[in-house]
């Protein structure tokens, strides 16, 4: 089987744009009437031609999600361990050239944050860092996972891409999933937004899910940052990536996120703005394309949007998130990676879910299930 790089290189954004331009309501209706949908159907469903079909897409998406995931919604919280970073990313608050105070949590501080998150009820945690190999390299991560593991049923990370052996090391310590977003699948645009640091290596990042698949990780999260480029084309690449990964690494589960670029102090405005209707269209299209993929919605989105979007295909949500190291207990005021929008805490989100007929699921994993010697 081809690697994803060669698949990607066969599809220029212009070629996808041409394909997108040729989509008519006929394609959309055909895609809607099918039960197993392919990449062409996905493209039809995210096309402007599908906009008038939004309600029917939403209904089908809800039905499929209920069927596969039940009346359940997983809750998780991110925990930022460090904002030190050697990369320049034009859209990120932790960028090397952004003059902010840098902080990496000590063991005592991590445990303080853990206590605050446990108090809030969380059992699934996502550890986040910037990329600073000397301070938050794989040794630090391994140590942090070992420190945190006794308190949480499920530990995920969103950190710099690692080598396969490094992932295997972390999995042995109890790591369950890894989120690694390509940001944009446009090679040139990627270069513009990542001019300096290890992250500027497009291909190494692109092949990260392959290394994770070979390490037999339980779950990989992929996605693109919406706002850097045409969201339709970047999302189409994301769906292509998902399809490739599913076929190649069949023991791994996948999740997709669709973060829209949020303002941060000193940051840039999105090049392309995606409105709420379009985001709903994208969420439903992902669900119709893949009934089993997990779809995650963060606190970047507004309260109003989240109140409704949870019913349309989403399977996990974060709540009360802090995007700065120490944000829950240690140092509530330090600079955050991006501004969150929905500031409601887990209790309120939990109530929202219950009011909408969902059971909030705090625990859907157990360390005993990935026993390693």
């Amino acid at each position: 089987m081809n690697n994803f790089k060669s698949i990607l290189d066969n599809w220029t954004p212009e070629a996808i744009q041409r394909k997108l331009g040729g989509i008519s309501t006929l394609h959309v209706e055909k895609a809607l009437s099918k039960t197993n949908r392919n990449l062409d159907d996905f493209l039809a469903l995210i096309s402007p031609a599908a906009a008038p079909y939004l309600e029917i897409m939403a209904q089908k998406s809800r039905e499929l999600t209920l069927q596969r995931f039940g009346n359940n919604m997983q809750l998780f919280a991110p925990m930022y361990l460090s904002n030190e970073c050697q990369n320049i990313c034009t859209y990120c608050g932790f960028s090397l050239d952004n003059k902010v105070r840098r902080k990496t949590l000590t063991d005592a501080e991590i445990l303080k944050e853990v206590a605050a998150l446990k108090e809030m009820g969380f059992d699934h945690i996502l550890l986040v860092t910037g990329e600073a190999n000397k301070t938050v390299g794989v040794d630090y991560l391994e140590h942090a996972i070992k420190l945190i593991k006794p308190y949480f049923a499920n530990v995920s990370i969103e950190v710099q891409p690692l080598d396969q052996e490094e992932y295997e090391r972390l999995i042995r310590c109890g790591l369950h999933s890894v989120l690694v977003y390509q940001e944009t699948y446009y090679r040139d645009t990627y270069k513009t937004h990542h001019p300096k640091g290890k992250k500027s290596n497009f291909d190494y990042r692109l092949e990260t899910p392959d290394r994770l698949g070979r390490a037999e990780i339980h779950k990989v999260g992929i996605g693109c940052l919406i706002g850097l480029e045409d969201w339709r084309i970047d999302s189409y690449y994301t769906a292509m990536h998902l399809q490739y990964l599913k076929q190649k690494y069949w023991k791994t589960k996948y999740s997709i996120s669709f973060p829209r670029l949020r303002p941060f102090s000193g940051g840039q405005e999105p090049k392309v703005v995606m409105n709420d209707r379009e985001l709903v269209q994208l969420i439903c299209a992902y669900r119709l394309f893949d009934p089993d993929v997990e779809l995650s919605l963060s606190t970047r989105e507004t309260q109003h949007f989240r109140n409704h979007a949870i019913k349309l295909g989403i399977t996990s949500v974060s709540a009360g998130s802090k995007t700065n190291p120490g944000g829950y207990a240690v140092e509530k005021q330090s600079l955050e990676q991006f501004e969150i929008s929905d500031e409601r805490g887990p209790n309120e989100i939990s109530k929202l879910l219950v009011d909408n007929g969902y059971q909030p699921v705090w625990k859907d994993w157990d360390p005993a299930l990935q026993y390693a010697e």
């Binding site: 069927q67 039940g70 009346n71 359940n72 969902y358 157990d366 005993a368 299930l369």
Partner: protein, 255 residues
Amino acid sequence: MLTIADKIFSSRLFTGTGKFPSYSLMKEALEVSESELVTVALRRVDIKNEQDHMLDHLAHERINILPNTSGVRTAKEAVFAAQLAAEAMETNWIKLEIHPDPRYLMPDPIETLKATEELSKKGFVVLPYIHADPVLCKRLEEVGASAVMPLGSPIGSNNGLKTLDFLKIIIEQSAVPVIVDAGLGVPSHAAQAMEIGADAVLVNTAIAVAGDPVGMAKAFKLAVEAGRLAYECGPGASTIKANSSSPLTEFLSYE
């Protein structure tokens, strides 16, 4: 009456606990179903917390807990998880679910056979979830499975008895109870499984995701009872109408 290991069951409807809108609805539905064996995923239970919400809602004298190992990918992981589940849920019964494929949750026959053998030796009452594979069922029986749980169609699909022909062979050959698990989407699917002689069925998604889970639990209860009764009554063979003219056997009319 159905007997598995040393336990006698008066209900032949087993149920799951996933996907319900709330624990209170789950509790109500399970009560109405009259189910006596209820699966609980280890992944959903907080075994460190003695007052786990889900287990609290299942505290009923009629209900026996059947922990499952959903999430493991190998026999080794399953054996470890089963031991922890036994300790936490205070039972030596285990539903083995070993599915390395996280999408269709297809059971791994090789790992399941290995784990069944090992856990049976350790004194567990093992109920393995497997494909409707007659040979595998006999092999599982030989290594100590207390019942077999072949699938009707993929978990959560609500597609009914797609494996009907193989289920019939399994039921015919099996020396241990056969519980048809997975894919039963509507009560008629459950009734059909009972009519062909299944000892019990396990239903989760179809009840949990129904518009009215409590009403649907009742519908499944009735369907399972009706199907069983029909099986016990011995349905008449479906007849082929004789053709009035018998060109090939007419010559025998002198007899």
